[in-house]
């Protein structure tokens, strides 16, 4: 089944690229969505079976795959709205949807991959498709964004490759031949720890470009800023999740060995630095889209903190990743409408959003409450559990420091959002403001409501999948 889906997605992607007819374009996109859902359900009913030798749908992969299915529907819908409102040519429309299909396909394969080299190949493909999306507008700023993204990602995938080489050196003595995650985990006691340490360092550094952590987070920020907002929504959810999956599976191997404490220390340092960087920028930033991007950096920092600390933190980390997958895209989807009203990304040019787009302003307010993890936000539950795990593991200083940083983030985020919603703008020509229909905000409401529902009244199957995924970490 993964093979069929892979080939089908590639064929659809190629057809989208060459097709110039509008109806065929929409038909192909709908066909892809249907096959994505069918594929996900097939994989859900074939949990933990090896497919095509290199793919194994385990609980974590399935969870993220299903989350991606849900997000991809509004992503394509808002992509379609974006194309319509920007008067795009059939060529640029084809390229846009073709790259989106390729990105989603590569992410879904990377979620299910059970072999580190296969994961790595799909990480490469996401770089390619993401760069096509970033360069969508073909101006000098987009060029700068795509150049930085491609260059940093090229270095990051080289780092992951070096990590894989070191991992193979670490396996050399043990005689393990297959680099599948399963076979490495079975033979964890035979691994050479020195090489394993080096491997972890390089793989972790490489994945930080995708997941959005210090040191390689920079490329992702420019990418989310310059790419069209629906693509930015995918970058800050499914693409970051792909980095998380890669890191999670490698850390699962490390967690069996003696170097777990060392590795978790590195992850904690990187996570705290990421939250710190996000705080510094979010309290000063004037570009709304970049502010959303930095908010993702903060959330991924929290996720890795929970993962590194362990205990209930691992459960909370996975829950946080999934809820974040629903909350952050709703902010990005809403950004397209903000831009249509004010024609600017700068916080100085916006204001009184409630007056111009009531439903949209309500989404922004609810999404702000969700993204800053204030109750009744779903992220409140997962963040609370992460703090609990920090408390239980006696990382009091980290906990206090992170809490102070998060308070500052709420202040910075809030002052910008309230400026957008309630303060009158300095100059605005009200004649040119387009009327935005409330129905364009329905999907965002649905995503935010889903995040709350999953956190406060999780279905048994959802909890069971997360618990199964946490068993990978020891």
């Amino acid at each position: 089944m993964p093979g069929i889906f892979l080939i089908e997605a590639i064929v659809i992607s190629i057809l989208l690229y060459y097709n110039r007819i509008t109806a065929v374009n929409y038909l192909l996109v709908i066909l892809f969505l249907v096959s994505l859902w069918a594929f996900s359900f097939y994989e859900y009913f074939h949990l933990n079976t090896i497919q095509l030798e290199y793919f194994k749908p385990d609980a974590l992969g399935i969870l993220l795959l299903l989350a991606m299915c849900i997000v991809s529907i509004p992503a394509f819908f808002h992509g379609y709205r974006y194309i319509v409102t920007h008067d795009e040519t059939p060529h640029s429309r084809g390229l846009f949807f073709s790259a989106m299909v390729l990105l989603i396909m590569a992410c879904s394969m990377a979620y299910l991959s059970n072999h580190i080299a296969v994961t790595w190949i799909f990480v490469e493909i996401t770089t390619l498709s993401a760069s096509m999306l970033i360069y969508h507008h073909r101006n000098i700023r987009a060029l700068e964004g795509v150049w930085k993204y491609v260059f940093v990602c090229a270095i990051s995938i080289t780092f992951i490759y070096i990590g894989i080489l070191f991992l193979s050196l670490s396996m050399k003595e043990s005689g393990v031949e297959y680099m599948t995650f399963d076979s490495i985990m079975e033979n964890y006691d035979k691994l050479n720890l020195f090489w394993l340490k080096l491997a972890f360092l390089f793989i972790f550094t490489g994945f930080t470009a995708k997941i959005g952590l210090v040191p390689m987070y920079t490329a992702g920020i420019d990418a989310k800023d310059k790419a069209p907002a629906p693509a930015g929504a995918l970058f800050s959810s499914v693409l970051m999740n792909m980095g998380f999956v890669g890191l999670y599976r490698v850390y699962a191997i490390i967690s069996l060995t003696e170097i777990q404490h060392w590795a978790s220390l590195i992850m904690i340092i990187s996570a705290v630095l990421s939250i710190f960087v996000a705080t510094v920028y979010m309290t000063h930033i004037k570009n709304i889209k970049r502010m959303f991007a930095y908010s993702s950096i903060e959330h991924m920092g929290l996720v890795i903190l929970g993962l590194a600390v362990g205990g209930i933190g691992v459960y909370a980390a996975i829950l946080h990743v999934i809820l974040h997958t629903f909350v952050k895209p709703s902010l990005f989807f809403q950004f397209s409408q903000i831009y249509r009203v004010y024609q600017s990304k700068s916080i100085y040019d916006v204001g009184h959003y409630f007056k111009y787009n009531k439903a949209g302003a309500l989404v922004i307010l609810l999404a702000f409450i969700s993204a800053t993890a204030m109750p009744p936000s779903g992220l409140f539950i997962s963040e609370f559990l992460i703090f609990q795990s920090l408390f239980e593991s006696r990382n009091y200083f980290v906990l206090i420091f992170v809490l102070i940083l998060l308070t500052m983030i709420i202040w910075g985020f809030g002052s910008n959002i309230f400026k957008l919603l309630f303060t009158p703008p300095l100059t605005i020509n009200e004649d040119n403001i387009p009327r935005i229909r409330p129905r364009e905000s329905y999907t965002q409401f649905a995503l935010l409501a889903l995040a709350i529902y999953l956190a406060y009244n999780p279905p048994a199957m959802f909890v069971q999948l997360i618990q199964e995924a946490t068993t990978l970490i020891h």
Binding site: R141, W147, T158, L169, W195
Partner: protein
């Protein structure tokens, strides 16, 4: 013999640190490609012939000929000046690259592994760090690309060290080479030439907070 080739490879790094003109960098890349060809031939004795031929072709055709020639073409097409424009004097660059090599030798002495030829490890790591140094210490975008290719060459050497047991990893390395080079060079450098008349990294400095 392999050791001699690898040491020659490390010496090219020193030469690169003091090179003034971009064409000199390209010539060094060509030399590195040929050295990689020789090293591959001598090291990978246990893998299938067809696979070996593929890897050898990649080193000679892609690394030694295609990439340097393509960069040369880009330089001509975009009218890039010949100076490498380093931020630091050459003498300091030389000292830094020497220090990188010495530090990797000291690092490798900490490794206790009978399965690995340490020369590979030293040369690969010094290539990696020299490449990173070239990227941060040169002004032009094209020299950043050259720095990245130096990193790739270093990684290739590391792949050769495990190549006999895991030929799949060497093939993955080839994939990385082709994918990243084509993506970086092919698609975007052409675009940079179209949009920017002067491919200077200073012009790509607007995206910030």
């Amino acid at each position: 013999m392999t050791d001699i080739l690898l040491i020659a490879f490390a010496i090219t790094l020193l030469f690169m640190s003091i090179a003034n003109r971009i064409y000199t960098y390209l010539n060094i890349l060509i030399v590195q490609g040929f050295i990689l060809f020789g090293t591959t031939l001598l090291t990978l004795t246990e893998i299938k012939t067809a696979n070996l031929i593929l890897i050898l072709l990649e080193t000679i055709v892609f690394k030694a000929l295609a990439v340097p020639m393509f960069i040369k073409y880009i330089i001509k097409r975009n009218g890039i000046t010949r100076e490498a424009e380093p931020y630091l004097p050459n003498f300091i660059s030389l000292i830094i690259v020497t220090a990188i090599i010495v530090i990797t030798i000291i690092l490798s002495s900490a490794v206790e592994d009978t399965h690995l030829d340490k020369t590979f490890f030293v040369v690969a790591l010094s290539n990696l760090f020299t490449g990173l140094y070239l990227i941060v210490s040169r002004k032009k975008i094209i020299t950043h690309v050259i720095g990245y290719i130096v990193i790739e060459n270093g990684v290739f050497i590391l792949a050769l060290a495990v190549g006999n047991e895991m030929p799949m990893l060497v093939n993955l390395g080839i994939m990385l080479d082709i994918f990243a080079s084509v993506l970086i060079l092919g698609v975007f450098f052409n675009k940079i030439g179209d949009v920017l008349k002067d491919p200077d990294v200073n012009l790509l400095r607007n995206l910030k907070d």
